[in-house]
Symmetry: C2
Subunit: 339 residues, 2 copies
Amino acid sequence: MKKSDVVHLILGDRLQNPLYSESATAFAPTNIALCKYWGKRDSELNLPNTSSLSISLGDKGATTTLQVKDQADDQVTFNHEKILSSSGFHKRLTAFLDLFRTQKSLHFQINIKANIPLAAGLASSACGFASLVLALDQLFHWQLSLKHLSILARLGSGSAARSITPGFVEWEKGIQDDGMDSYGKLLPETWPDLCVGLLMVNQNEKKISSREAMQRTIDTSLFYPLWPEKVEQDLIHIKKAIHEKDFLLLGKTAESNALTMHGIMLSAWPPISYYLPETISAMQTIWALREQGLALFFTQDAGPNLKLLFLAHDFERIKKCFTTMELVKPFLPRVFNKT
Amino acid sequence: MKKSDVVHLILGDRLQNPLYSESATAFAPTNIALCKYWGKRDSELNLPNTSSLSISLGDKGATTTLQVKDQADDQVTFNHEKILSSSGFHKRLTAFLDLFRTQKSLHFQINIKANIPLAAGLASSACGFASLVLALDQLFHWQLSLKHLSILARLGSGSAARSITPGFVEWEKGIQDDGMDSYGKLLPETWPDLCVGLLMVNQNEKKISSREAMQRTIDTSLFYPLWPEKVEQDLIHIKKAIHEKDFLLLGKTAESNALTMHGIMLSAWPPISYYLPETISAMQTIWALREQGLALFFTQDAGPNLKLLFLAHDFERIKKCFTTMELVKPFLPRVFNKT
């Protein structure tokens, strides 16, 4: 099944909607997975091998403005810088927009602003595609459900399925070939004391994309086949932890999930490692603080940066050890009430 | 079954041998596993879950001198420094010697000299116990076979089973409860061009012993159950590589085996990591050199140091990048002809 088939399933006649307005702007938060998405069952539709669970990072994310332009092709800027039409980023965006053009001649000026670095393991493509889908929904006045918005975002980038809303989101893997049962669901719980600390040890673009790393892991690691079992166990624990506000269980499970994902990558060939010396150094500090009794954990995505997990009352103590850490409170009222 | 039962099986009446001489000195090389030993099926007899395969490191290792002393207990020195009788090291040694005392009152002065750091992932206990067994064999004139020497050394420390001879040694896991089929076997092949580069990034004692790390991995990692399958595949490739002098296959398999072992440790809880920032930095340099076409690989044991694997003709180029690296040529004639 092709992406365009899914788009037809969701939009049907609305694909012929006239433009509602000349421009639209939408924000989507980035998200970090507490239980990771690693491996696809369908790489065309970005359908995952496993479910995953994330937390959206409040006001960290991407804002996309779409303007209809009378021009021969799409123009893209990222943080005010023009993106070359020959770049992979540009091609990926325009190919995605092709799915939604009401006529071939319809072209856009796409301005994306993000307050996180690009392709450094902060799910920039997740919030990028989610905000693009939200902007399209406004522009064409589709008024899609969160479910359908999540599915369309997934067609752009898998983890974008989890970036449509703030809060805890579970992306269910689904079993259907068309993926209509594979989308992000907002969990009812909030957790105002929960903090995420962004520890950027390196803001450069990663050398190997998540997409490529996932595929190589599946193709070459003897250990990947056990990953779905690990996820199944971890999801149970994370949902229990969120429900019962059991921070130690949440932290332990999220950290173990991330370490296991990186451990499996080490067993791929050629080996995949997102560790930098600074990553290891930070991990050692975290473990040392934990031995001293501090409830501090981390997670790590396909990049060298760590995301620290802790509760608000420990912030000052942690900030002293990680002076460059950026605090995110995912459930700050001003953020969460936006939905 | 107890260690003393195995000692009786091997030595029988010879356990009552009078002393052959008042002192004996023996050297045993340390060894690094190209396919690792990780996990025990019997922790009393140090019987492994899997076979493993190592290369002995030429003249790097330990020399043990045993002297019979008319004193109330054993005295131990390590590199001329007296070891306290309250230390774990002293207790482990004297408990081992208890297995062989012809009379309770027999005590020893044990002087161990090693040209490798203690407990830093350079198999110091392997060469330590192997040299002690070789010295006992001389002192009591047992004239044991290599097989029996390997089994006795294993009772002291698992990987000591592979440190009785120079060269490539395969330690077969065996299936018997008494472990009489679990010992190191010297492979017939030599490989004079093969080089090992010791890259010591940290000589401190490791925080968590291999023994403890193994057990925690088995107890808590969901991924350990696949380790024996990985070893089985890797052993086939390594033996083929040695037989056919296929260095790329040897290097790739050894590196993947080590990375997988460390990856599985990351999936344990609490997580186990022997990585230091310097370890990661060296790994990155190795991978960058390999991308430039250099046939350079590494292996890593339960410590932060790396052992580089390469062929003699690449030494100069590699030495430029790793100026502190110590070269070992395991098959130097002066070393190998000692057997």
